[in-house]
């Protein structure tokens, strides 16, 4: 039985993948290997996990303003997450999605969740995202 959540598409698109969830914000600069998609912030709970092709779920991006550039590089190299879900609109992630569309014709979906929806997501769940922001859980 699929469970549905409605999110706000910040940069709309469709995607599917396994969820990778953390309650800790993350800076992609110093936190995400743009050649492999590994989380490399050694102080972060997701350190060592590979987010490439997965649906990355974080409260927001922290720290460096280079986070956007790292995500654009990862998108170009094909090792970006399949989608990124945050609580509230995260401008840093959104910008990378927008610039990727402008530069390369395709980006990744970036969605904003409310806190209650965020709490329902767990690492390992299968997630499918529609263009309108509908999220199908655990199908």
């Amino acid at each position: 039985m699929a469970e549905l959540i409605q999110a706000k598409p910040v940069v709309a698109g469709s995607a599917k993948g396994e969820a990778l969830v953390s309650q800790e914000p993350l800076s992609l600069w110093g936190g995400y290997d743009q050649k492999t998609g590994e989380i490399i912030d050694r102080r972060h709970p997701l350190s060592g996990q590979v987010a490439a092709g997965r649906v990355l779920v974080l409260p927001y991006s922290r720290g460096s303003s280079t986070t956007t550039a790292v995500l654009l590089e990862a998108l170009r190299a094909g090792v970006a997450p399949a989608a990124i879900l945050t609580t509230g609109e995260d401008a840093f992630f959104a910008l990378a999605g927008i610039v990727a569309e402008e530069m390369y014709g395709s980006g990744i979906p970036i969605l904003a969740l409310d806190r209650a929806a965020f709490e329902r997501l767990e690492t390992g769940q299968w997630i499918e995202i529609d263009f309108d922001g509908t999220i199908r859980l655990g199908a």
Partner: protein, 427 residues
């Protein structure tokens, strides 16, 4: 497209002229990105800026270079005075290090692209050390997390946290979404940190500020903070270290210190008369724990001491030079200071670089150890006085790191091993 909120955004006549291409393709692309971002952040209109600082100039790979060359190739020109953050290469000195020639070439091409757009080649993460810096109340668009927090907090200028790729679009259009820290009500402190019985001696110590900033980032996250309870007036370098740390462990873009930072003559001003969401007392115990978290090296093994994140200031060169007199670094340890070309020129004139060279140290300009692949693989253990270096080095460089004040760093470089002095942090 962010379909949900575009309807709220109302563009001015000149904005629409950029968007429809009548001002040329570069303005059009930049305005497309600015207006789409305005929709994302829920802005109702755009506003003018009168200055910009660009972090996008940092070479990260093919994509950042392609973006820069696309804009420059379309004939983009910045509309406001614009400074440039660190580059991906020290043009004059990269051959002395491990930087691959292909990296140096690409990083240089990216530097050229931003210079072609009319940006000033300052190449520093500390543009506030330059003569021309934003004034109180000035609306600007700055990238570089450590510079953003300094501009907002210490100068009282107004910038949102602009990410790479957005900062240059703001400079090209001269426009930003009218939201966030550009607006007075959003600049009120939300969280209140009170220093509790922190000895004056510790507050005067240079290693206090990076540690305090590291704690601040963890507590405040992306909120505006107020810190009270100082017995001393921190100087600009101390505030620089505090902000850079808070923008690493958190997303802090603005803090107030009543009586010190310009928007907060009093505690009431810091909160704009509102109640704090959260009040936290900071004890010496909590700061001591944070200080130890900044060190990841298990033993005392040391390969390199690195100073200058954010870039070393003239005042920091003045503090360092006398500490180095008459001694030299241990042969197995490297000693490096990263700074801007502007500060290096002033320091050279003041005779402050020769003591570093005589000590056996080196100086890297325009960039830093995190933004150019300069370090040899043999460097496994770093020591630094910067919480920003300490925070990012383990992930970006796969090294272990030890944190200490300036004197601890110099002493360790001489002894050839990590020497941390805990006295001032004890009860």
């Amino acid at each position: 497209m962010a379909a949900s909120s575009t309807s709220a955004l109302r563009l001015s006549e000149p904005d629409r002229a950029m968007l429809d291409g009548s001002q040329g393709p570069a303005d059009q692309l930049a305005m497309r990105i600015v207006s789409r971002m305005a929709a994302v952040v829920g802005a109702e209109r755009l506003m003018d800026i009168t200055g910009a600082h660009i972090d996008s100039s940092l070479y990260m790979g093919e994509a950042t270079l392609e973006f820069a060359e696309k804009l420059a190739g379309l004939g983009a020109q910045v509309k406001v005075p614009t400074t440039l953050n660190v580059s991906g290469v020290d043009e004059a000195g990269w051959q002395e290090w491990e930087v691959p020639a292909s990296w140096a070439e690409n990083a240089r091409l990216q530097m050229i692209a931003y210079e072609r757009m009319g940006c000033t080649p300052t190449w520093t993460c500390a543009p506030y050390q330059l003569e021309q810096r934003p004034e109180f109340g000035q609306q600007v668009a700055w990238g570089e997390s450590s510079a953003i927090v300094f501009a907002n907090s210490v100068l009282g200028a107004r910038t949102e946290r602009y990410p790479d790729l957005m900062d240059i679009c703001a400079a090209i259009t001269g426009r930003v979404p009218e939201v966030g820290l550009h607006l007075t009500p959003n600049r009120a402190a939300q969280v209140h940190l009170q220093l509790e019985a922190i000895p004056r001696e510790l507050q005067e110590h240079d290693s206090f500020y990076p540690v305090l900033g590291y704690v601040l980032g963890g507590i405040a996250g992306d909120r505006v903070a107020c810190i009270s309870g100082f017995d001393v007036e921190p100087n600009e370098d101390q505030l620089k270290a505090l902000g850079a740390a808070a923008a690493s462990s958190g997303a802090v873009a603005l803090f107030h210190i009543p009586g010190v930072t310009p928007e907060a003559p009093t505690l009431e001003d810091a909160f704009q008369g509102r109640e704090p969401e959260e009040q936290i007392k900071l004890s010496k115990d909590r700061l001591r724990t944070a200080r130890s978290e900044l060190t990841t090296t298990p033993g005392t093994e040391l390969d390199m001491v690195v100073l200058g994140s954010p870039h070393f200031s003239l005042a920091e060169f003045q503090s360092l030079a006398p500490m180095l007199k008459g001694s030299s670094k241990h042969p197995k340890v490297q000693f490096l200071v990263t700074t801007s070309r502007a500060m290096a020129t002033l320091a050279e004139r003041a005779g402050l670089l020769d003591p570093i060279r005589d000590f056996g140290g080196r100086i890297t300009l325009d960039t830093c150890i995190l933004t150019t692949p300069m370090l040899p693989e043999t460097i496994r253990s770093l020591m630094t006085n910067s919480a920003k270096y300490a925070y990012y080095s383990p992930g970006l460089l796969n090294v272990s790191v030890a944190f200490g004040g300036l004197a601890e760093c110099v002493n360790s470089a001489v002894r050839g091993k990590i020497v941390q002095e805990n006295g001032i942090w004890q009860n």
